[in-house]
Amino acid sequence: MRLLALDTATEACSAALLVEGEVLERYEVAPRRHAELVLPMLESLLDEAGLSLSRLDALAFGRGPGAFTGLRIAAGVAQGIALGAELPVVPVSTLAALAHGAFRERGETAVLAGIDARMGEVYWGIYRGVEAGVMECVGEECVCPPQVVPVPPGKGWFGAGTAWACHGEILARRLGPRLAAWAGDSLPRARDIAVLGAGLYRAGRAVDPAQALPVYLRDKVVAEKADATDRGRE
């Protein structure tokens, strides 16, 4: 299995190459520099592995949620490469990637993944590690104020992502005894998207390049966009 992955959903920009279970990664926290960095990152990974696009099985990208413009950069790059190299695309949730990061780094298998959504809200997903490379969403991902996030059953849950850095106290109060610990410093990474993408690919979840689309979760954008109209990227 050979798969290239990219993510530009948050302040981080990353790319990863998965070749027969081994992962190479480029990762940089670089707000507003995604467009500049992402293709050179992918290029350097292929160079390092001595691979060309035609030798890949699929392309995976962080489909969101996250910053709207960043999601479209990832989707646009995925669409362009996939069409050009005739590759199937695997859209991967950035919340699942956060959850998998917690699994990879700390062995957590019950993760409350949250990304700060600004305007007093969080993007939220409840994830369970099923086996290596597979995180299963419990219920549905959503965007809502931290005071009312959906709460999982049971105990031992670990909180991961910037939602916890911004609203840790509120979320901890909401979760009560279900929560074991949390860390708010992690961002979605392409290495996790690559591993999850490979699992989804094997499960037959790859799509046509035209279906490589962002999942914003926040779909009421007109009223709140009045102030962001020409300011550029969020």
Binding site: E36, F68, V77, G80, I81, G84, A212, V221, V222, T229
Partner: protein
């Protein structure tokens, strides 16, 4: 040589293939107009969301129509000026596609595309020429010496012509987009009933100002009975004031530069009254008028593919590192 062009700078998604031997071989434009009509103007986030859904199927269709990927030698995309989020969709897809194909890519300035659009016509102008660039975001008089040789002779100090048209149309209660609606309303109006100023024509120079004219329209409307006839008369008077103002400056620019070819480009270039008036001006001045056909007046990828071919043929290449620019001065191009 064949170049794929992509345009997503505002509310049109467009893809084209230009062939240096035969001209445009495939071209599609999708307008988001109905999407934004309910909001009375372009909503940037909605525009971006629509571009990312529509662009790839259009690229596929146009490439297929042009005879497939093997016939292409380069990719060009609008990288600015425009709505940053909308631009980034076209840039990301276009640059990545070229990267995967192993083809050279070039970033194109949207207004350069408009400036060069008349070159796609059977009888094109020859360098150097004078260009009046009129759109929703720009009002420029430019001396075009050649590719990348743009001398800005006049610019608007406030509103662009298209903006003045849209705002006036809104004041008159016309639906978005206001320009064409205002032109239609003006046809049944008496331009002489109300007098409107010809801003900045009584002083030397080639700059424009249209915000005062818009205010004048509002005041005239308040003082009138606002009947359908009064609205039509105001529309006609406003349009005539704009057209004459542009004509006065074009005549002045032709005389000052000694150029004998005038090009009208940009969305407002589709205005029939403007074309007729400028035709009269060039006839009197012993000059010639050039304008692109209607589909190359609005935002389109044909002009981007064409400008892309010129730049690629000159050896220009963009690195894998891409970007888009909301603001980008035409005069900074080389």
């Amino acid at each position: 040589m064949r170049v794929l062009g992509i345009e997503t700078s505002c509310d049109e998604t467009s893809v084209a293939v230009y062939d240096s031997e035969t001209g445009i071989v495939a071209h599609e434009i999708y307008s988001q107009q109905t999407l934004h009509a309910a909001y009375g103007g372009v909503v940037p986030e909605l525009a971006s969301r629509d571009h990312i859904r529509k662009l790839l199927p259009m690229v596929r269709g146009v490439v297929r129509e042009a005879g497939g990927r093997e016939s292409l030698q380069g990719v060009a995309y609008t990288a600015g000026p425009g709505l940053i989020g909308a631009l980034l969709v076209g840039v990301a897809v276009g640059r990545s596609l070229a990267w995967a194909w192993g083809l050279p890519a070039v970033a194109i300035h949207h207004m350069e595309g408009h400036l060069l659009a008349p070159m796609l016509e059977p009888v094109p102008p020859a360098f150097p020429f004078l260009a009046l660039l009129v759109s929703g975001g720009h009002t420029l008089l430019v001396r075009v010496g050649g590719l990348g040789d743009y001398d800005i002779l006049g610019d608007t100090l406030d509103d662009a012509v298209g903006e003045a048209f849209d705002k006036t149309a809104k004041a008159l209660g016309l639906p978005y987009p206001g320009g064409p609606a205002l032109e239609a309303l003006a046809r049944g109006g008496d331009p002489a009933r109300f007098t409107f100023p010809r801003p900045m024509t009584d002083r030397p120079g080639l700059d424009f100002s249209f915000s005062g004219l818009k205010t004048h329209v509002l005041q005239t409307l308040c003082r009138s009975d606002a009947s359908p006839q009064a609205r039509a008369d105001i529309a006609a008077g406003f349009q005539q004031a704009v057209v004459e103002t542009l004509a006065i400056k074009c005549r002045r620019a032709l005389r000052e530069t000694g150029l004998r070819q005038l090009v009208i480009a940009g969305g407002v270039g589709a205005n029939q009254a403007l074309r007729e008036k400028l035709q009269a001006v060039v006839d009197e001045e012993g000059a010639a008028l050039f304008y692109p056909r209607l589909e190359y007046c609005t935002d389109n990828a044909a002009m981007i593919a064409y400008a892309g071919w010129l730049r690629l043929a000159r050896g220009e290449r963009c690195p894998a590192s891409f970007n888009a620019r909301a603001r980008w001065s035409l005069a900074s191009l080389r």
